[in-house]
Symmetry: C2
């Protein structure tokens, strides 16, 4: 089973975190909450869902983990002012391990300069940012391009979960 880093901070879109995480755990995967400070509890923007951060992004290595999950809301906008979070996302995408992004998730990958030439989707407000980053924006519920899986918004969650679980089944797993 895969060890998945969920990179998250305050104002994440509640259901874009809770539903995929429940589905991942339901299949036996382990979800580690990675954020700006271990031990703090961050909250969702719509329902105030509390999420305790397990690991500080500065102290976690891509080698320890099998996949990266980036929920949306305004969490990615807050994460991308942190250099360690940006570098972590960049290294993950370059590692070839699965990166699962929904809604505003691509913002973190844009700041990481990691989307050039990739096919990706995301929330409708960031379409121009995705295009300007040199990526090909695809307007569909789930887009798979190599190790990158992306979806647009909460309506796409079921398709996002299906595609993510399939990708995770095939992922290499650390010891």
């Amino acid at each position: 089973m895969a060890k998945i880093a969920a990179i998250v901070t305050d104002m994440f879109e509640d259901v874009e975190y809770t539903k995929p995480v429940a589905a991942f755990r339901g299949k036996g995967h382990q979800v580690i909450n990675v954020g700006l400070k271990a031990g703090v509890t961050v909250k969702g923007k719509s329902e105030g869902t509390p999420v305790r951060i397990d690991r500080d992004v500065e102290e976690v290595a891509v080698d320890e983990l099998d996949a990266l999950f980036i929920p949306g809301g305004y969490s990615p906008d807050k994460l991308r002012i942190d250099e360690a979070a940006v570098q972590f996302a960049r290294e993950f995408l370059e590692s070839g391990k699965p990166v699962l992004s929904i809604c505003h998730g691509p913002q973190l990958l844009i700041t990481a300069n990691a989307l050039r030439g990739r096919k990706v989707t995301g929330y409708k407000s960031i379409v121009q940012d995705i295009k300007n980053a040199g990526a090909q924006f695809v307007d569909q519920e789930v887009v798979e391009d190599g190790n990158l899986i992306s979806s647009r918004d909460p309506h796409d969650i079921p398709a996002f979960i299906d595609a993510s679980l399939k990708k995770l089944e095939k992922a290499k797993v650390t010891a």
Copy 2:
């Protein structure tokens, strides 16, 4: 005195709206709140400041107004999913009339494809988006490039107000 459109919706950064608006009105300028629906009251993200929308962006023309003010927070991200708001911002910048942008304000201008070749600043989370939009990002408290004045965040408000008031003094005023 100038008629200033403040384009705003929910989750604007309270002080980035309240302080400039108080300063503009203090100098005799008129501030018209333009939003996605006239008559509704939108709220700030930090303090819940209520702002009543005077005019629907679909029904207001650049010709009626002398300047555009774009406060930050998450309001610009919400505005830029609306085609009329994006077009209004684009027309304003192209009209040569003053456009006063702070924090996340450039997001609206990026979606409008209006920043190519412009010198601009904005909140640190959107630096890469500004660069990818073909603009020159300048890391200072206020940047003036032709009719576009921009600042980074709430710390820059005094400098933003000073530069904006000077620009408004020189602006042509509609009857």
